[in-house]
Symmetry: C2
Subunit: 322 residues, 2 copies
């Protein structure tokens, strides 16, 4: 905890765009293929290399994701961009694998509390871990490398309350042990603040603890801005050298299953606002900020109400500089 010097801030930060999935899944109105594709194609112009276009989940639970296959097939693909998707079970994965236009990744979903895991997967944390071994076999069969291990509610849980650091480390240890036993390279370890419990000091503490356990692993963060600390948590992570973040254009998003007080609760950290922070501090992102702002304004137009992003309303500083 003593080594959070300015020099730990990375020189390049990667943003993985989640807006097209996070942004629409919680909305009541059904968004058309054309609307989603227009946003995804606007995002494709910004320099993003990875855009999550939707999820393969129950159309009854998440009606807005039902057209994900058609969205995937309709995108004019740009070379160098991975158009990713999410799934929660084998059926979802098979649907994703059968859909042209979806770039698959080997992903593990790990949990820190039985309460949240049961709600999302109808099984305990330990049972969920066992299932991940089956997933690795599925990925191997599809020649997909094991790229991401995501730890849900890594900072706190609305059903179980505080989440001990040790519960996060237990998930990391599970991943590290499997990788060692099966001679696999470590995936990126993603800590997710699924329901907005993180604060900046806790980000530092937990990232530090994970890094101590697996110094060779890349760490990523999936941050929600539920309680207004998202940008501070992002900055705290930068200070710890974290260089990979999920984010949503215009701050789109929010989790429909996470028992938020209401739908006004903010979504993911906002892509263009965080990119602006990086650029202002001299950190490269490979992204075109003005084009991101355009995409954010398009998102707001599609959703039809004021979204949480700031820069899309205030504009960047470009016009004020000589």
């Amino acid at each position: 905890m003593e080594d959070n010097k300015v020099s730990d801030i990375p020189k390049f930060v990667e943003f993985r765009e989640e807006g097209p999935r996070e942004g629409f899944q919680a909305e009541k109105r059904i968004y058309s293929v054309e609307e989603k594709v227009s946003l995804i194609e606007a995002l494709s112009e910004t320099g993003l290399r990875r855009i999550q276009i939707g999820s393969f989940v129950s159309a009854q639970r998440v009606p807005n994701m039902a057209n994900t296959p058609e969205v995937a097939r309709s995108i004019r693909r740009r070379p160098g961009i991975r158009y990713t998707a999410l799934w929660l079970n084998k059926k979802g994965f098979e649907d994703a694998a059968a859909t042209k236009g979806v770039d698959l990744s080997g992903m593990m979903a790990l949990y820190t509390t039985d309460a949240f895991c049961k709600r999302n997967n109808n099984c305990t944390v330990d049972e969920m871990r066992e299932r991940q071994l089956e997933w690795l076999a599925v990925y191997d069969a599809h020649h997909l490398p094991f790229e991401v291990a995501g730890i849900t509610t890594a900072f706190g849980c609305n059903f179980a309350g505080e989440v001990p650091v040790e519960s996060v480390l237990a998930s990391v240890r599970f991943v590290a042990d499997i990788c060692q036993a099966q001679h696999r390279p470590l995936p990126i370890i993603y800590l997710a603040d699924t329901v907005g419990w993180a604060n900046p000091e806790e980000v530092k503490r937990r990232v530090g603890a994970v890094r101590e356990l697996v110094p060779q692993a890349r760490i990523g963060l999936h941050l929600h801005d539920t309680r207004g600390l998202g940008p501070a948590n992002f900055y705290a992570a930068l200070q710890m050298g974290v260089d990979c973040f999920d984010s949503s254009v215009a701050g789109l998003g929010g989790c429909p299953f996470a028992a938020h007080a209401n739908l006004n609760a903010a979504g993911n950290i906002c892509t263009e606002d965080m990119v602006f922070m990086c650029h202002e501090m001299g950190i490269e992102t490979g992204l075109d900020l003005e084009k991101l702002i355009e995409a954010a304004r398009l998102a707001e137009q599609i959703v039809g109400r004021t979204l949480n992003g700031h820069l899309m309303h205030s504009g960047s500083l470009r016009s004020f500089r000589c």
Copy 2:
């Protein structure tokens, strides 16, 4: 810059509430005395010790401030709270001094760019400094201590662009020299990010530079969340030991004279969200978070549209903890 360790974070942070002034000054609808008083009285229940209730300025330029005298007279005053106000010229100060219910402070307004200073005061930075000497005489005549020196556009200016650190330090040096020459204690030095140019590393750099120049001075920050970096800037300042912040309940505010792109541009950093950050990190504030959330919801009800605060929409973590 090497010493931003966790241990520099203060144990207690003071919030100076600006919502009742910042929140209404930019709005088109005129808010009644009753509406303003109800918000100020709700804020008075939260533990805040200093609440800015309005400003004594041209009713033509800022129609929403015309009822400030009546607001001041109508508040049920609670002991221990200072109900402060703002003024830009002698006429404004005299009006404030003549109004029962306004707690006066000796304040200096300093600028970093001629362009912004001319726009606000029709004079240059140097002329504005000269005027401050007259202000000190006015304060002395009213037996008011010189409490606050505020440096406007301390991070950047929409009319002049980048603001060199040296322009900020020149203002600080001016204050320090006067205080030394006139045997006055140093006031709190406030750096204002008037138009949303600050980023966290720049906050650290500028606070560090001011502290180096006047190690004995208390430093305060007036931060706007114009471009979504407010919470990160706040956290950066905490890491530098800053323990005094202006903020607005519900994130009310925005500066009508600052050439923002539109009125959606966010206002000050949000009181209750930043108080939440402090409490989550173990920093005391003397404030009742739940009562602040209630006041924020009242503010939203009065303004009549969704405001920028997050916690007022998501709720705190209290109900999720055992």
